[in-house]
Every structure is written in structure tokens, then in C-alpha cells.
């Protein structure tokens, strides 16, 4: 109980301005975390009974206040902890959908950490091929985007891409945004490709 009390005190000490910033960043995080998956059907509104982003943001915050998930405030910032809760929920829902079990329990964090990452992040090869085609199709009329796609294959961060392409980070942000819009539109309009 002492730990629970401390967690609640920490949650209550977060100011409205800080909460707004955290919710804003969490919303964008969930949006993009789900983007690929909503496009491939795992987190549709039908499955969750509402807007998936809204659902995950509300649920994650609620789970921290109800202490179903304990904020490890010495280890993680509030945003990081909420992102972990969302990650767990997404994994759980993917599993639920795959196994079609109704009573699957939300994964404990320890279990989530020890879980092989491939269990969480796998897509079917077919989906990956569709995604690769989307990148190719959406960059074919733009040399900068083609370069960006090559860098995406080789690099894991914008900093690495800066070195690989010689572009400024600001320019890479612009290319990333352009590509995100194009790829999501492409996948949405070609949903028939995704079984």
C-alpha cells in the first residue's frame, strides 16, 4: 500500500500543463504505433468498439490511476510508462485476435520484457512485402524520397540518416512526413491487397 500511495501521490503531483504535454505526445505515439496495424486490420474500431487511439490513450491512463499498472516513477517518465502500458495492451490485443481467446489477461510488464520481441513485432511476410511495395510506389517520382527509402533500410534513427544521406535532419523530417502521408494513403486505398 505504501508504494501504491506513493504512486498516487506522484500522479496527483503532475500539473495540468504537464498532463496536456504527455497526452499530446502519447496520442501521436499511439497513432503511429497503431498506424501499420490498423491498416493491416488488427486494431480496427470494430475490434475495440471505438476510435483505437482514443481507446488506448484512455485505457492506459486509467490503468495507471487504478494501479492495475504501477508507475515505476524512479525508472520511467510518465510518458515512457504510458507508452509501455500501450505496448502491452497492443500485444495483448494482437494475441487475443490471433488466438481468439476471450479471457486473455493483460500481460505483466516482467513477462512482456522477457517475451521474445518477435512475438510482439512480427507481421506476416506478405504484409511486409505490401509495405515494401508501398515505399517503392510512393517514392518513384521523387529522388529525395528514393534516397530516404534506401536510408530507411540501412539506418535506425534520423541521426544515422543524416550521416548516410547528407540531408539535414529538418529535411528528413519533411521527407518522413511526406512519405507517411503517401504510404498511409496508398495502403488505405489498396486495402484489398491486405487479406
Amino acid at each position: 500500500m505504501d508504494n501504491d500511495k506513493e504512486i498516487l501521490q506522484h500522479l496527483n503531483s503532475i500539473t495540468d500543463i504537464e498532463w496536456m504535454d504527455v497526452v499530446d505526445k502519447l496520442t501521436i505515439y499511439v497513432h503511429f504505433k497503431l498506424k501499420g496495424r490498423t491498416l493491416f486490420g488488427a486494431h480496427s474500431e470494430q475490434n475495440l468498439g471505438g476510435n483505437p487511439v482514443d481507446y488506448y490513450v484512455d485505457e492506459a491512463i486509467g490503468k495507471l490511476f487504478s494501479l492495475e499498472w504501477k508507475w515505476q516513477f524512479e525508472k520511467y517518465s510518465l510518458l515512457e510508462q504510458l507508452q509501455r502500458v500501450v505496448g502491452s495492451m497492443i500485444s495483448t490485443n494482437v494475441k487475443k485476435l490471433k488466438t481468439k481467446k476471450e479471457d486473455i489477461i493483460l500481460m505483466e510488464e516482467d513477462k512482456l520484457i522477457s517475451m521474445d520481441k518477435s512475438e510482439i513485432n512480427d507481421y506476416d511476410v506478405e504484409y511486409y512485402e505490401i509495405f515494401k511495395n508501398a515505399l517503392e510506389e510512393c517514392s518513384k517520382d521523387d529522388e529525395d524520397l528514393q534516397l530516404y527509402v534506401m536510408a530507411l533500410d540501412e539506418c535506425i534513427s534520423f541521426d544515422e540518416m543524416v550521416t548516410a544521406t547528407g540531408f539535414e535532419k529538418k529535411k528528413l523530417y519533411v521527407l518522413q512526413k511526406k512519405m507517411t502521408r503517401r504510404v498511409t494513403t496508398y495502403l488505405e486505398t489498396n486495402k484489398k491487397l491486405i487479406k
Partner: protein, 134 residues
């Protein structure tokens, strides 16, 4: 056959970073007004804060009640009749309806109820004075 979706996840993680400082268009994609959305979320958080504060206060009161109960039980179990009389007087001044009841015969739950009626923080201070011989 499954493959690791590094590139798919990486792509959307990079999108997250690129849109972070300029995210109005993401809210447009979601079909939300950013201000309205954040305002609604803040209202929800305020409700959750309120509930958790009530939970914290409840736990705090229960804790104080246990302390007061422990002090009363110590006095009742002691052989010091003067302190026992002082305790009865203390309770009587705060709760006149108590005059027809014998504190030593009260069950633990009744004692707790009585103490919570008396205002637990004040009674702890008075009990401490009694323990310390005023």
C-alpha cells in the same frame, strides 16, 4: 512464415518523431479538434485525480483510526484507573450520548466507530497528552 517487422515499426516510430513538433495534421487525420480532444482528456484526468485523492484520504483516515484505537486499547489494558477515568471524561465531553455506555465493554468495531465520530486527529492529540500525563 513470420518476419520481424523492424522496418514497418521503425518507419512509424520515425513518423512519430517527425510529427512530434508539428502534430496538428495528425489530429486532423484522427478527425479530432486538438484543443477539444486535450480538454476532454484533461477533464477525464481530473476525475481520476479526484477519485485517487479520495482513495488516499480513506487510507490516511484508516491509518489514523488504527493509531487512535491502539492508544485507547493501551489505556484500557493498563492498570492506571486515573488515566482510564480521564479517557472516559475526554470521550464524554466530545460525545455526551456516550454516558450510558461502558467503554471497556465495547467491541473493537464499536470503538473504531466511536473514535471516527469524535474526530480522529483531535482525539489522538488528547490521547497523547493523557499518555504523557498531561
Amino acid at each position: 512464415m513470420k518476419i520481424k517487422a523492424n522496418n514497418i515499426d521503425k518507419f512509424f516510430e520515425l513518423s512519430n518523431e517527425a510529427f512530434e513538433s508539428d502534430n496538428e495534421s495528425v489530429y486532423n487525420d484522427l478527425g479530432f479538434s486538438k484543443d477539444e480532444y486535450l480538454d476532454n482528456k484533461l477533464k477525464m484526468i481530473k476525475r481520476l485525480k479526484l477519485k485517487s485523492k479520495a482513495q488516499l484520504n480513506k487510507a490516511k483516515n484508516e491509518n489514523l483510526l488504527e493509531i487512535a484505537l491502539h492508544k485507547v486499547q493501551n489505556i484500557l489494558e493498563s492498570a492506571n484507573e486515573t488515566v482510564k477515568e480521564e479517557l472516559e471524561k475526554l470521550i464524554l465531553t466530545r460525545s455526551p450520548q456516550f454516558q450510558f455506555r461502558n467503554i471497556e465493554k465495547l467491541e473493537e468495531e464499536d470503538l473504531k466507530e466511536l473514535l471516527s465520530d469524535l474526530g480522529v486527529i483531535d482525539i489522538i492529540e488528547d490521547l497523547e497528552k493523557l499518555e504523557n500525563g498531561n
